[in-house]
Amino acid sequence: MVEETIARRYSEWKMRCPTHLCTGQEAVAAAVGQVLKKDDFVLSTHRAHGHYLSKGGNLSGMIAEIYGKETGCSRGKGGSMHLIDLDVNFMGSTAIVGGTIPLGVGLGLSIKLKKTDQISCVFFGDAAVEEGVFYESVNFAVLKKLPVLFICENNFYSVYSPLKVRQPEGREIYKLAQAIGCQSEQGDGNNVLEMYNKVSSAVNSMRNGGGPYFFEFKTYRWREHCGHNYDNDLGYRTQEEYNFWKERDPVSIFETFLIKESVITKNEINKIEINIQNELDLAFKFAEDSDFPKDDEAFKDIYAK
């Protein structure tokens, strides 16, 4: 809903920065976020909204950041691609493909040095595993048995490039991580419960010194790579493929499941949705009402004290 609201309002041209929405991929963030504790660390990529929110990141801070306001979580300096919320140990997201993977390993190292039972989790896409730094990072995490949770969201595309022009036929990303020496599994990225269970048990073992874990979750991005529209008209993916995944909408699948299992009623869901919409309206209002940073702010905070 957050993403869809952004999408709806993007064409007001008030959110003036590249924005990568995760509609269709919500389940991965949701499941992993549910497993992690507040003091666990998370890092993410250009497509970070879901990860940020699922870690408990401040919604108003995020929307204000996309609006470029002083009250944004990065005070307007970062935009959609550079989010942070230190209150919940969401340590940052950035737009260089693969760039945060070694940072996650570094946080893992710091946990080991400080002897806490935290986890360092890093989210990335299927293109990130093509960067050498991915491989170097996993190698080091395994070598030092660090508590790093690698979550690869395989949505089959990097911008408009399908996997087949980037990785050899028959490649299974999770097996690659395995060959480096990492405990590794794959799963259905649209099945929130299955992911929750898998990740839970991995994280339990990790908290007890079990070393790093890698998950590949297959899922699908609905909207265009960057921006608020749909882009199936470009022809880089088929309508059939898109429909196939759209039918497997992780949110409605999970809702149906919850209703069927009588965990929740349709009515309760509606109430939750209304609450979210209210929160969202407030967040957008907060963002719209907030001041822009003063132009001199551009030249501050280059160095830390």
Binding site: W13, R16, C17, P18, T19, G68, K69, G72, S74, G76, K77, G78, G79, S80, M81, H82, T94, A95, I96, V97, G98, A127, A128, E130, E131, G132, V133, S158, V159, Y160, S161, V165, R166, Q167, C226, G227, L234, G235, Y236, F292, P293, K294, D295, D296, E297, A298, F299, I302
Partner: protein, 356 residues
């Protein structure tokens, strides 16, 4: 040829035409990079290439900037002329080892026995929240490395002529395109023409001050010069076209004539190409200088994202006018030019609909 001269293309189309022209005449020219054959075709600059030259010569690649740079270099040892493209210069930071330790040094460290004829196209940007990881200008890094050539065309016709020369040059060439130039139109002849690397171009003739510029800043300078002219100030505008090697002869002769120099650059200030020009001019034209040399480049600061923060961050025609005025001891009214720019400051023009 005369007819030709009146042919209008925009900068992106001019790049595209240079690619066609090069690939047509020499089958050792190949083109690769993320998205070169995707629906958007690198803002149209690689349109039609795959269809015309096939997937062996025009191909997408894994997100492996360092190795793929090495792949281009290695292929060039066997006579291939690769043109590699990155949608943002920032991504290319992953490949500095291959660029500097291999491409730049190879010819020299093997005693001149072999060479590396590769072109790397890098896009730099400005505005629309490109922010800290999508907008860096690093020409001074490349210019600092002996063995590399660095090209930064400002006009459509230069873009074509310089890209053709870059592709057929036997050295590694960094070819930097400013995103805000892609839609600018100019006269672009249809024929194969080459603009020599290392030669600057005088775009405006004047006696009062030399403005030394490159890439998009040249466009801002042209705007500024119009206003300055109305105010009785005549500028010599030298567009460097190639920032390594630099056409020192033209720079010095201009400064010797005017006795004043303002250097423009798209990058941050410290250790920039602008620094180099100010330094050399000060060393070589010391006795000709009538006042302190000046430069206009970005403050030493990463790029902010919010449009509120980029307003003061970037330099434009207004800043140029103010600087020139100061150097000549004249106060010039800039309200007119400020008004000219009706569109918001963070887009290059109406055609720009974000987010790239």
């Amino acid at each position: 040829m005369q007819n030709d001269k009146k042919r209008k293309l925009n900068y992106a189309q001019a790049i595209n035409e240079a690619m066609f022209c090069a690939m047509e005449q020499d089958e050792s020219v190949i083109c690769f990079g993320l998205g070169v054959d995707d629906p958007k075709r690198i803002f149209g600059t690689t349109s039609g290439l795959k269809e015309r030259f096939g997937p062996e010569r025009v191909f997408d690649m894994p997100t492996s900037e360092n190795a793929m740079t090495g792949v281009g270099i290695g292929a060039s040892f066997n006579g291939i002329r690769p043109v590699m493209t990155h949608q943002r210069l920032d991504f290319f930071l992953l490949a500095m080892d291959q660029l500097v330790n291999n491409a730049a040094k190879w010819h020299y460290m093997f005693g001149g026995k072999t060479s590396v004829p590769i072109v790397i196209r890098l896009l730099i940007g400005r505005g629309w929240g490109q922010g800290p990881t999508h907008s860096q200008s690093l020409q001074s890094w490349f210019a600092h490395i002996p063995g590399l050539k660095v090209v930064m065309p400002a006009t459509a016709s230069d873009a074509k002529g310089l890209l053709l020369s870059s592709i057929f040059d036997n050295n590694p060439v960094i070819f930097i395109e400013h995103r805000w130039l892609h839609n600018l139109e100019g006269d672009v002849p249809a024929v194969d023409y080459r603009i020599p690397l290392g030669k600057a171009q005088r775009l405006r003739m004047g006696e009062d001050i030399s403005i030394i510029s490159n890439s998009y800043m040249t466009i801002e300078a042209l705007h500024a010069i119009e206003v300055l002219l109305e105010n009785g100030v005549n500028c010599d505008l030298i567009d460097l076209r190639t920032v390594s090697p630099i056409d020192w002869e033209m720079v010095y002769s201009s400064v010797k004539k005017t006795g004043r120099v303002l250097v423009l650059d798209t990058s941050v200030s410290t250790c920039s190409v602008a620094s180099e020009i100010v330094a050399r001019v000060s060393m070589e034209c010391f006795n000709d200088l009538k006042c302190a040399p000046a430069r206009l480049a970005l403050d030493d600061c990463p790029t902010p994202t919010s449009s509120a923060l980029t307003k003061k961050f970037y330099m434009g025609a207004e800043d140029i006018i103010v600087s020139v005025g100061k150097m000549l001891g004249k106060k010039i009214d800039i309200s007119k030019i400020s008004m000219q720019k009706a569109f918001p400051h963070d887009v290059p023009g109406d055609w720009f609909k974000g987010p790239f």
